[in-house]
């Protein structure tokens, strides 16, 4: 599989500018009528290499600074946590980093990395784990072997596992100290209920995890066909591939793992309430949304931008913050993943405005399922997304990592080249169509975290309410 040609030209702004409204005062030009030179840019193209054991590597040279960056992505994550052992992916990643390797203790690894000012982080998300490594070029040969050993042959020292478990348990104990953190964590549980992604770690599940669990989890997921890497910086392409071959060439393991089934479709709406004392409520309304590979990804991206992620002008922000003055944080987010997507809209407001703000959020979401988005608003969203696309290429590391992720996610090789064109081509009726399909009021998952005795109206006036407890 080839990464595809990355060469394309940025030619924006000039063609897209509309006629201004002729309203500017004489001394200053109307900002809507400013003329901009064309912007051209051909991002450098990383080279794709496949090692004999199946490990895929993207390589991009950049001599600006004497540094080397490596990003790795691993097909694993908390979605793969066994039932009753929630938190295993997270602990595995943490203790791989801290628990030493076949040739060094964890403390020796830390001493070497920190003395050379190299950084290495490893973390597990829901559907993937990532590793990021930074090192000055002069120290590369001293430290690269450590990076390789941590991925291939971690030692999982018992003491470091104990420490990681203790810290994780304390972290869980402290989640409710920050109400918004609590709210978004609980929201995941209710949105993904019945799917592994909705099972999150607890003090009990962490307590059950043992060293053998980590070893088994590592064996299952950390293997050459289940990992991809991107290396960039002050390197020689051929030389670096040789170094990867030397360190990773003997790595063996099973083929790529299968994806965890996506969360099941919601068949009904639900309102969940979690009692928490404090001056404010967090209100979240969420839906399952199109996956990244779907054609609906593009219209839904625009829809989300207009509804709540497009800054001050987006509808939720503009109404709930600017017009009503009822929130500091309000908006929406959308992420298309493999096999599914997630959309959430939210506002954080004072307790006695909870009912009012919840109702406004519902109305804003309902409106996009009933009325077409206006031409001008759609044009604004398209221009915004297309014009800021250039920032996806802000550093060499980012460019290399992005190519790797395209292959990792199974996106078409021309994904980046075609992205702007596909956004621009979305017709207004498609936004209405995806809104009707994905933002159905009778399938909304709602979570409200707050103190109902201070609400302006009872939640029961919105429908059946399920009280939940944080665990």
């Amino acid at each position: 599989m080839s990464a595809g040609r990355l060469f394309f030209i940025f030619l924006i702004a000039v063609l897209l500018l509309p006629p201004g409204d002729g309203n500017g005062a004489p001394p200053l030009p109307d900002p809507q009528k400013l003329k901009y030179p064309a912007l051209t840019f051909s991002p450098p193209e990383p080279q794709r290499v496949e090692l004999e054991n199946g490990m895929v590597l993207y390589v991009l040279e950049d001599r600006e600074l004497p540094v080397v960056n490596i990003s790795a992505v691993i097909r694993t994550g908390s979605a793969y946590d066994p039932e009753g052992r929630e938190g295993l992916a997270d602990l595995t990643a943490r203790v791989m980093r801290t628990g030493g390797t076949r040739s060094m203790t964890g403390d020796e690894v830390d001493n070497l990395l920190e003395f050379t000012a190299a950084t290495l982080s490893l973390s597990a998300g829901t559907d993937a784990a990532t590793a990021d490594f930074f090192v000055l070029k002069k120290d590369f040969d001293r430290v690269f072997g450590v990076f390789a050993d941590i991925l291939m042959a971690p030692a999982f020292n018992e003491k470091k596992l104990e420490l990681a478990k203790n810290l994780k348990i304390e972290e869980l104990r402290r989640i409710a100290d920050v109400p918004q953190k609590l709210a978004f964590r609980e929201f995941r549980k209710v949105l993904y209920s019945g799917n592994p992604r909705g099972r999150l770690s607890t003090v009990e599940s962490i307590g059950r995890i043992e060293r053998e669990d980590l070893e088994g989890f590592h064996r299952r997921f950390f293997s050459p066909r289940n990992v991809m890497m991107a290396v960039s910086g002050d390197i020689d392409g051929r030389e670096i591939v040789e170094k990867f071959r030397r360190h990773f060439g003997s790595w063996r393991g099973d083929g790529p793992v299968r994806d965890v089934p996506p969360p099941g479709e919601k068949l009904s709406a639900s309102i969940h309430y979690l009692q928490k004392e404090g001056p404010q409520s967090t209100i979240i309304i969420g839906f399952l949304a199109p996956e990244k590979k779907s054609d609906d990804f593009y219209p839904f991206t625009l829809l989300d931008f207009i509804v709540g992620s497009g800054g001050f002008r987006s509808r939720i922000f503009s109404e709930i913050r600017s017009n009503l003055g009822l929130a500091y944080s309000a908006g929406s987010y959308y992420e298309g993943r493999t096999g599914y997507g997630v959309f959430g809209s939210y506002a954080i407001t004072k307790s006695d405005a909870t009912g009012r703000v919840f109702a406004r959020l519902q109305e804003i979401l309902k409106d996009v399922t009933r009325r077409r988005v206006g031409e001008e608003e759609l044009l604004w969203a398209k221009r915004s997304i297309v014009n800021s696309f250039i920032f996806s290429f802000s550093s060499t590391d980012m460019i290399a990592t992005q190519q790797m992720m395209i292959e990792f996610l199974g996106l078409p090789p021309g994904y980046l080249r075609d992205y702007r064109g596909r956004i621009e081509a979305v017709p207004p009726e498609d936004l209405l169509r995806v809104a009707v399909r994905y933002l159905r009021g009778d399938r909304a998952t709602v979570l409200i975290v707050g103190d109902e005795k201070n609400f302006d109206r009872p939640l029961s006036s919105f429908g059946d309410v399920r009280k939940i407890e944080a665990k």
Partner: protein, 509 residues
């Protein structure tokens, strides 16, 4: 010294976590070789009106980052008027006479009436119990009606729309004790758009939606302070550590001040302190410096100088005895310890940068190894130099969360043991070398970001008076000897110079 990063103007989901942290610090990067290079590459100009402009070319990709820093912050606010600098920062997103209006002449008439009515309403409300309910109701109704009329004459959030539509990212602003900052990154062909908007709002900001924005700030306060015990503790801690100097006051403002901030005062504050002779601009990225300077001159050059009033700042008297304060809350224990110390460019401030790294930078740092790993007392431990501001003598702060069942007291005592070690035993050459290596690497790393560079250049130009503070930093740090660290620790990290604040779990009745 790590500047505190302050209060963000807007919060989208991604920025929540950094906002919830006590401070989003940027670790400052000192250095030698690449830094000298940097010194040569940065072009510095001063326009006739006093505006300082720093330009740096980087042709990695066609984008540019812009930072504007005004030398004004919460420090300059009068008594009873806390929160002014921060509310003003919000007002700068409301547009100008030519951006965000449908017909400014008509709109202005309504805005003037809003101002009159709003002032009368505030004055009545300030009477507290004596306020006349009927008058309050009448004025509130009038204000609502006027606000609806004004709404019809304005264009909502137009600055944000213009920027966003043109591909802007990282559009935000922040208010600190010392500085107020506006920043954005744009595709490289949009330099003129930035100059057009920023020069206009620096001079012609129109105070639209002033009264509803005060409500937004109250929500911001509920969300970021009142709902989060460790943030609330920070406020209490600063009010305890500083008794006289304005660093004792919260940037976001005390609730009663914010609720009645007078629009006229906020506007006067704007006219006085957002003047070009009080401002530093940094532009970093894919630019042609000569052409960029021309655009900057064209748009910013016409803004008039303003006389800066002499600033009378009370000096904090030396602390003579430990101060302790606690916050009862339905939350896990949390601990803050702070020591007064001098501001940059005092030699001791550099020494504290080293102490900061020795104590908490990375897993091999002293406090992490001892308190988190070996003794298991802490869930997290961090330190910060330069709190809550950098311009005036400030604090060196420890922030720590005990791990259950260990108590804040156990953790506090363990921190003191490490401080005593710092006073007693010289740091080894290898430990010091590690810290220097980290500082050197930071600098190289930081060169990889337009935004990071623009932020740092403008920050040190505004705070230290010269961006070359960055390049000189490592030289000073490299000269620090183990005895210096012991001496600084002995001088400042003493019990009578410290303030301790803790979150204590409130027992349920």
């Amino acid at each position: 010294m790590k500047p505190m990063s302050l209060i963000d103007k807007r919060t989208l989901l991604r920025t929540w976590l950094p906002l919830l942290a006590l401070m989003a610090t940027f670790v400052f990067a000192p250095s030698s070789a690449p830094a000298c290079d940097l010194e040569k590459k940065v072009r510095k100009y001063e326009l006739e009106n006093g505006l300082v402009v720093l330009l740096l070319e980087r042709h990695v990709n066609p984008t540019v980052s812009f930072y504007i820093r005004h030398r004004v912050g919460a420090l300059e606010e009068g008594e009873g008027l806390t929160g002014t600098a921060h509310l003003l920062e919000h007002m700068l997103f409301k547009g100008t006479k030519t951006i965000g209006t449908k017909d400014y002449r008509r709109e202005k008439k309504v805005l003037d009436e809003i101002r009159k009515t709003g002032n009368a309403l505030d004055l009545e409300r300030l009477k507290g119990e004596q306020a006349d309910k009927k008058t309050v109701e009448r004025l509130s109704a009038e204000l609502r009606e006027l606000q609806t009329r004004a709404k019809g004459l304005m264009v909502d959030n137009e600055i944000d729309r213009l920027y966003t539509e043109n591909g802007a990212v990282d559009l935000n602003a922040s208010t600190g004790q010392d500085l107020t900052t506006y920043h954005v990154s744009l595709p490289a062909n949009k330099v003129e758009l930035w100059a057009r908007i920023e020069s206009d709002r620096m001079e012609n900001t129109v105070f639209r939606e002033f009264y509803s924005e005060r409500d937004v700030v109250n929500e911001e306060r509920r969300q970021t302070v009142e709902s989060v015990p460790k943030r609330k503790l920070m406020e209490l801690f600063l009010a305890t550590a500083f008794k006289a100097h304005p660093y004792r006051r919260p940037i976001i403002g005390w609730p009663s001040d914010v609720s009645s901030l007078p629009i006229d005062y906020v506007e006067r504050f704007f006219k006085t302190y957002h003047a070009p002779n009080n401002t530093v601009i940094a532009v970093v990225g894919d630019i042609d410096p000569a052409a960029t300077l021309k655009v900057v001159k064209k748009y910013f050059g016409a803004i008039g100088r303003a006389p800066l009033p002499p600033l009378r700042v009370t000096t904090e008297p030396p602390q003579a005895g430990e101060r302790r304060v606690e916050l009862l809350a339905d939350a896990n224990p949390y601990l803050l310890i702070g020591y007064h110390k001098p501001a940059l460019p005092a030699f001791d401030d550099y020494v504290f940068d080293v102490i900061d790294a020795l104590l908490t930078r990375g897993r091999t740092s002293r406090l992490y190894r001892a308190l988190v790993e070996e003794r298991g007392l802490a869930e997290s431990i961090d330190t910060a130099n330069g709190f809550p501001g950098s311009k005036y003598p400030n604090l060196f702060v420890f922030m720590a969360a005990p791990r259950h069942p260990h108590t804040a007291k156990e953790l506090e005592d363990a921190i003191y043991e490490e401080i005593e070690k710092l006073k007693r035993e010289p740091v080894t050459a290898r430990e010091l070398e590690k810290v220097l290596n980290q500082f050197r690497a930071d600098l190289v790393r930081d060169l990889d970001s337009n935004r990071g560079l623009a932020s740092k250049l403008s920050y040190y130009e505004a705070i230290a008076g010269d961006f070359r503070y960055i390049t000189g930093h490592l030289q000073v740090v490299e000269s620090i000897r183990p005895e210096d660290i012991m001496k600084t620790a002995r001088t400042y990290l003493t019990s009578e110079n410290r303030t301790v604040a803790t979150v204590v779990r409130k027992e349920k009745p």
